[in-house]
């Protein structure tokens, strides 16, 4: 095969691949609510499962708070859920997470925030916390945990007289879970756990790079955001 024909074949391969989106799979699962929850209002997930999040009375105030603080991925995930709620239920009343964190200092910091359900319940039962939540006019805490995992890159490069050809792939995965807490009733109402994975592909022919990135982060954001947004819209009068 001449260098030119090799290059042409590689180019044709790129053109063919460009017509195909990078493959992704997304899975959405409900997170069980605490015992004795109100009747759930389901939403349909990607995998066709019922996602059990009851209507959220957004007019009574909510805050979207990252599960792990001061990390870019986590703050982006929380911002994504907050944007979905603002879009689906603009009449709901959002509390700025920084204001919430300051108002509850030192209880919601990276090393001190509750990690388990019983810890959250114990915290929410404290009179000074209830008083402060009342001052903030805040009823719901939507705790968001977003993570991205870029797998190992595998690739190869070959050069011919006509130039160089390089191809590689990288697996990517994102997950986003959101748990809704009713801080007045002091119980978890339920939540959603969305996961998405895919493989990114890059090709370089000569100096022309062609890159396919699976938008796993955007997928989980859309799925979880839609579910939470619908729950807030369902419980918030227009």
């Amino acid at each position: 095969m001449t260098p030119l024909s090799a290059l042409l074949r590689a180019g044709a391969c790129c053109v063919l691949l460009a017509g195909c989106p990078a493959p992704t799979t997304t899975e959405v699962k409900p997170i069980a609510a605490s015992a004795g929850t109100a009747t759930p209002a389901g939403t349909e997930g990607m995998a066709g499962e019922r996602v059990e999040i009851p209507p959220i009375a957004g007019a009574e105030g909510y805050v979207v708070y990252p599960a792990v603080l001061d990390m870019v991925d986590q703050e982006e995930a929380a911002a994504c859920i907050a944007a979905a709620i603002a879009r689906d239920a603009p009449q709901a009343r959002a509390i700025d997470p920084a204001r919430f964190r300051d108002a509850l200092y030192p209880w919601m910091e990276p090393t001190t925030k509750p990690r388990y359900e019983d810890q959250m319940q114990a915290l929410a039962r404290m009179p000074q916390i209830q008083e402060r939540l009342s001052q903030l006019e805040l009823r719901y805490l939507i705790q968001v945990d977003g993570r991205r995992n870029d797998g190992t890159y595998r690739g190869t490069t070959a050069c011919t007289g006509a130039g160089c050809f390089s191809a590689g792939s990288q697996s990517m995965a994102s997950s986003l879970s959101a748990t809704v807490w009713d801080l007045r009733e002091i119980r978890a109402l339920g939540g959603i756990d969305a996961r998405s994975s895919g493989t990114g592909v890059d090709l370089v022919v000569g100096i022309i790079p062609i890159v396919f990135i699976p938008y796993t982060g955007a997928r989980v954001c859309t799925e979880a955001g839609d579910a939470i947004g619908r729950a807030v819209a369902a419980g918030t009068p227009k």
Partner: protein, 201 residues
């Protein structure tokens, strides 16, 4: 012989390239004050005297860490906090005890406890790490309890806020540990002093 010298020089050059990257930094650090704690104050009259070493606090040392690209970094740091820690504890402790008397000398009058803060670590390199300790003692000097708080604030957090976050988190942990401290609880119980609603550990 000349070849051996060249070979040795090449080996030394290669080995030095494999060692940690050395950096040094000198900073005047004035972190933001954390918010006033939401805390049920202990019903105790406290005296607080900021130790001389914290009135003009400087932390000098080296910290080795691995960077995101795998490089080993040896950071020499010189952190000048001035009197920040004195201002910090002076402010925070007012929300933690019923009354706090700032004193330069030995506490006078009706005092239940004497508060002695300390900075156990303040380092820079691969992030920031600040660790505080707070000792509560009786006016006669008997130690009631010592609590500690602090954790590394990794470099992947927002760089311009690393010291703010480290101080904020260290104080938060210190306060919660104080709230749960068994020695202090026993001391209070022995004096029939009732206090607080405790969060689950």
């Amino acid at each position: 012989m000349k070849q051996h010298v060249l070979l040795l020089a090449a080996v030394v050059a290669l080995l030095s390239a494999c060692g940690p990257v050395k950096r040094s930094i000198s900073l005047k650090v004035t972190p933001s004050m954390p918010p006033a704690p939401l805390y049920e104050p202990f019903p105790l009259r406290a005296a607080f005297s900021c130790p001389p070493e914290l009135r003009d606090h400087r932390s000098i040392g080296t910290e080795q860490s691995r960077l995101a690209d795998g490089t080993l970094e040896l950071m020499s740091y010189d952190l000048d906090f001035g009197n920040f820690h004195c201002r910090l504890f002076g402010r925070v402790l007012r929300s933690v005890f019923a009354s706090v008397e700032a004193t330069e000398a030995a506490p006078a009058g009706d005092i239940d406890v004497v508060l002695q803060p300390a900075v156990e670590k303040a380092s820079y390199g691969g992030g920031v790490e600040i660790r505080y300790a707070l000792t509560l003692a009786e006016p006669g000097g008997r130690v009631i309890a010592t609590v500690r708080g602090g954790a590394p604030t990794p470099a992947y957090k927002p760089e311009e806020r690393l010291f703010d976050l480290a101080v904020r988190d260290a104080v938060a942990e210190l306060l919660l540990r104080l709230e749960k401290d068994e020695d202090l609880a026993a001391w209070l119980a022995a004096r029939s002093i009732t206090w607080g609603t405790r969060a689950a550990s």
